[in-house]
Amino acid sequence: MKPAAFAYHRPESRAQALALLAEHGDEAKIISGGQSLVPAMNFRLARPPILIDINAIPGMDDIREEGGTLVIGARCRHAHFEKPVSSAPIGLLLSRVAANIAHTPIRSRGSFGGSLSHADPASEWCCVARGLEAELVAESTTGRRTIPAAAFFQTIFTTALRPDELLTEIRLPLFGPGWHCGFAEYARRAGDFALAMAVVACRVEGGVIREARVGLGGIASTPVTSPEAVAVLLGQAPSPALFLAAGQAGADATSPDGDIHASGEYRQDLVRAMIRRALTQAFA
């Protein structure tokens, strides 16, 4: 289990990294935490001829708030979110999510942007980005563009990033007063890839849910949203019965993929349970 030979670059600036990407394109792969890429290389499932290591580039792991937005540097490690990074509801949500990601050693190396770029359908951050309608900032030598999460995740391990582009920032809503956020997933063992997960954010005003977002992960080739669950929630007062109904609507609308750990039918059961639990957590 040794990787195939590869060339290795460790640029010290964002410009150098982008220049290397522009030069090598498809041949090159960015390495940040390496927690998915390196095992894949050791199994020789991935054989990138060139690795561009972004760990020496300053400023890629900053976190800041801009207006109503949390801006996350792409190289921020998962562990960074274990304590809330913001006093807004997003901070608590991300800390709840981070607790579900793999194990401590992986959380201390793996990065937010790396997870999104890798686009594993069972990635918690991908589910959060899609479900909460993140915007993803990609840079190349030719410029900078913002990609909505809905357009970013194309299929399994495939994103809208061009071969010359580097994901540099993730922009998530902070969620102000009145917002309630929750996350739930089910994995066979602590730290395993989840068989299904749900992220929710709801804004309550006058006792009823006025806005809602529901994202699902681990059930299809990309993370998805659940407009069916949202439709059940809107205009209703939060209650256990409502959460179950939203879960049922979300589950009924999916036809998840099956694998050795979970048949499609079983995943549907899990979707119902995870939406219900994420909502219960949000309003606990």
Partner: protein, 776 residues
């Protein structure tokens, strides 16, 4: 220093651990650093004909070895004299056909592992696929594809037993039938397999350091395959990071390593990676049982009739043979229960899958799962409490002869269960369970009563009719001129703390502090022939031989002390490193040792010129026993199970080191929990393995294992000279049944009974879903 009263029964910290926790242990991969690397190219197809193996251009020093290059090597062919056994041949490297995904097809040698993997990448393997048969039931069915032409029904081994009154026992009885399925597992030792073969040009000998459980046996097996003098091979098992049975067998990879070392007069190392270990080492417990039991109106089991199918994989493991699983099930099915009339038909079925080999408990985790599910289901049918049903059926009179002619020695089947019921607080739990149910939570409790055949010698193995009959152990003990004790043992620990336990036994006999006792093991150049570690035997048999040898040494020391102290030999006591007489005269054992070796004089007339002794022990075997209790909560939305409490009441007779015993029990339970809930090797219909990493084949982690409470009863048996019974496997044997019984208890409101293990979340959830859909 105050001498301890006794060394036996004390929690001496393991002598092995300081080096291990400092990272100074020596495992094969430590020894292999810098050696030329061997990598095996493995078959990507489950069944097929090798058309061509096209080799790339090689860098200097690199080699590719295929079946054609090693055509002179004899295949591995273990034999059984009975049970319609078909001796199938496992080639070291195949020349014509492949039989399972993962079978080694070529060995690549290069300066480093990476370079060897690069070469392996470039080999073009042209194999014409043929129809594979993977599933146990399909392989056993008429008309299935044939794996080996000499076994046209895919049956490699078949045993039958039937007592004359079996059918009569079923007449008019309450008959309970179960269909029990156990899925395939990998023992998953922390250290994978690996070997380092070094050629010594001066002597022409090869030293093979390998992560194995049976170094002496493997030396015989490897030299038989190569056709070389056995004396020209030294096999050493250095520190071994667990084996659990997986490292008992002779594998083609080791034969090839030794062949390479001799052929090229050089040194080669192979360190298995985890993927190889999961795919190509050895698997276990792919079994299907059909159980029928007859109970009378008092709830007494009058008859038991079982049909046993075991998937043995593509070849038969050496030296135990593939009879190990089906024939153990045949012989030991009734476990701790009385049954007058018994019938069993057991078959080992070959398929295009990895080779089956023994794994901690072998067939008994499946048997006990079946029996303990049977007790629960039968109790329900009979309207009896399942604990009461067990009371009426457990063996309570000893010795007890089973229908398969095994003799159960003194044990405490009933007492461990009663104690477990008490410790678990069953009435209080039922109240807690009801209160939880009122809140929509599903708690359950599960019991499992087992016995564990341990420490059995050649008589028991002879009954299996293996060509090779293991069993005895020899210990050679020596006091050095400076007073330390060296014991050379034929057994070969794989991480279980045997050095510490044996040192305690020797200390008890000789009065020498354990810190001055060295246990020398696992090296065929330095130890007497022996059988290694498996079958919960090492403490009982090698420990028994240690006691016998140490007692002989003690006699010599007392005799010498009597001469030197001018006292009576019968009055000499050995304690705290001293020989003592009642009047207060004393001499240190060190001084005795110096005198014996360096100033022989008159002592030599009494004891000769050395302090060497030896003993061999070959017992009939002794059964330890236990009752396990699992308390679980089942999440009915996900089908997931959380173990809230786990209790073991164990009876292993006299405990030599209770801490090590508890460690054995706890480790076994952890593997049993994996068996019950998580671990399942999955092949697709074409024989591709879908569980090639720990992301897909999932042993439990710390988070899935609850604290395990261990309580002890101590039935002292005359069947073991130490009065100690083995405990290596019991934890793994009892746990699956306890856990799955607890799940079924939790799901009692749904009327769910599970007979398939592991009880994975999706299986449990499917059962709940079905129950929800069929009831209003």
């Amino acid at each position: 220093m105050d001498a301890p009263l006794t060394w036996i029964g004390r929690n001496i910290p393991r002598l092995e651990d300081p080096a291990l926790v400092r990272g100074e242990g020596r495992f094969v991969a430590d020894i292999a650093v810098g050696s030329r690397a061997v990598v095996f190219l493995r078959s990507p197809v489950a069944a097929g004909v090798i058309k061509a193996i096209e080799k790339p251009e090689l860098p200097p020093g690199a080699l590719i070895i295929t079946g054609e290059d090693v055509a002179t090597l004899k295949p591995i062919v273990p034999r059984l004299a009975r049970f319609n056994y078909v001796p199938i041949e496992q080639p070291i490297l195949p020349r014509t056909r492949v039989h399972y995904v993962g079978q080694p097809v070529a060995a690549i040698v290069a300066a480093t592992q990476r370079e060897a993997e690069d070469i392996a990448d470039q080999i073009f393997l042209d194999i014409e696929p043929e129809e594979a048969v993977v599933d146990l039931d399909l392989a056993a069915a008429p008309g299935a594809p044939i794996v080996h032409p000499m076994a046209p029904t895919n049956t490699i081994v078949e045993g039958r037993i039937r007592t004359p009154g079996l059918e009569a026992a079923f007449a008019g009885a309450t008959v309970v039938e179960l269909d029990i399925r156990s899925r395939r597992q990998n023992a998953s030792p922390m250290e994978t397999r690996g070997g380092h073969a070094a050629y010594d040009r001066a002597s022409g000998r090869v030293s093979l350091h390998a992560s194995v459980q049976m170094p002496h046996m493997l030396r015989t097996g490897i030299t038989d395959c190569i056709g070389m003098p056995e004396a020209d091979l030294r096999v050493v098992a250095p520190d071994v990071g667990g084996g659990f049975g997986q490292k008992m067998s002779l594998f083609p990879e080791y034969v090839l390593l030794v062949w390479l070392a001799r052929r090229y007069r050089s040194t080669f190392a192979w360190i298995e990676d985890r993927r190889e270990n999961l795919i190509a080492s050895a698997h276990s417990r792919d079994q299907h049982h059909k159980v029928r039991a007859a109970f009378d109106d008092q709830g007494v089991m009058r008859g038991l009739d079982v049909e046993i199918l075991a998937n043995i994989g593509a070849f038969s493991c050496y030296p135990t043979t593939c009879g190990v699983e089906p024939l153990m099930a045949l012989a030991e099915y009734a476990g701790p229960y009385k049954v007058a009339e018994y019938g069993a038909h057991a078959r080992g079925i070959t398929t295009n899958t990895a080779v089956m080999a023994p794994y901690r408990g072998v067939s008994r985790p499946v048997i006990s799962f079946a029996l303990e599910r049977l007790m629960e289901v039968a109790a329900k049918r009979l309207g009896l409490d399942p604990i009461e049903l067990r009371r009426r059926n457990l063996v309570t009179q000893f010795p007890h002869r089973t229908p398969t002619n095994m003799m159960l020695d003194e044990a405490s089947y009933l007492e461990t269960m009663e104690k477990a019921v008490e410790v678990a607080g069953l009435p209080a739990f039922r109240a807690e369970q009801a209160a939880a149910h009122a809140q929509g939570r599903y708690l359950g409790i599960g019991f499992s009563v087992i016995n564990e055949r341990t420490g059995y010698g050649t008589p028991a193995f002879a009954a299996r009719s293996m060509e090779i009959t293991p069993g005895y152990e020899r210990v050679e003990i020596c006091m050095t001129p400076s007073g330390e004790v060296e014991a050379r043992i034929g057994a070969s620990p794989h991480g279980q703390g045997l050095r510490t336990a044996l040192a305690q036994i020797i200390a008890e006999e000789t009065g020498v502090d354990v810190a001055r006792i060295r246990i020398i093991h696992g090296d065929t150049d330095r130890t007497p022939y022996g059988w290694g570690t498996f079958a919960s035997r090492s403490l009982v048999i090698s420990g028994g031989a240690s006691k016998l040898a140490a007692a002989k040494l003690a006699v010599k020391l007392k005799r010498a002390a009597a001469v030197l102290l001018q006292g009576e030999e019968s009055q000499v006591r050995l304690e705290g490193g001293m020989a003592l007489l009642p009047g207060g005269a004393s001499i240190s054992l060190d001084a005795i040792a110096r005198t014996v070796y360096h100033s022989a004089g008159p002592i030599s007339e009494k004891i000769g010129y050395d302090l060497n002794e030896a003993a061999t022990y070959d017992p009939e075997g002794t059964f330890s026993n236990a009752c396990h209790v699992a308390v679980v909560e089942v999440d009915t939305e996900t089908g997931g199970t959380k173990i809230l409490r786990y209790i073991v009441v164990e009876d292993a007779g006299r405990l030599i080191n209770p801490m090590i015993v508890d460690g054995q029990v706890q480790g076994g339970v952890a593997q049993g929990i994996g068996n019950a809930l998580l671990e399942e090797i999955i092949y697709d219909a074409d024989g591709n393995i879908l569980t090639g990493s720990f992301a897909d084949f999932i042993p439990p982690t710390m988070a899935e294992i609850p604290p395990i409470e261990v309580h002890h009863l101590a039935t002292l048996t005359g069947a073991s000279v130490l009065e100690a019974k083995g405990v290596g496997e019991g934890g793994a044997i009892a746990a699956p049944a306890a856990v799955i019984n607890a799940i079924c208890d939790a799901l009692e409101p749904f009327g769910i009974q599970l007979f398939d293990m592991p009880a994975t979340p999706q299986r449990v959830r499917a059962a709940i879903r079905t129950a929800e859909e069929t009831s209003p």
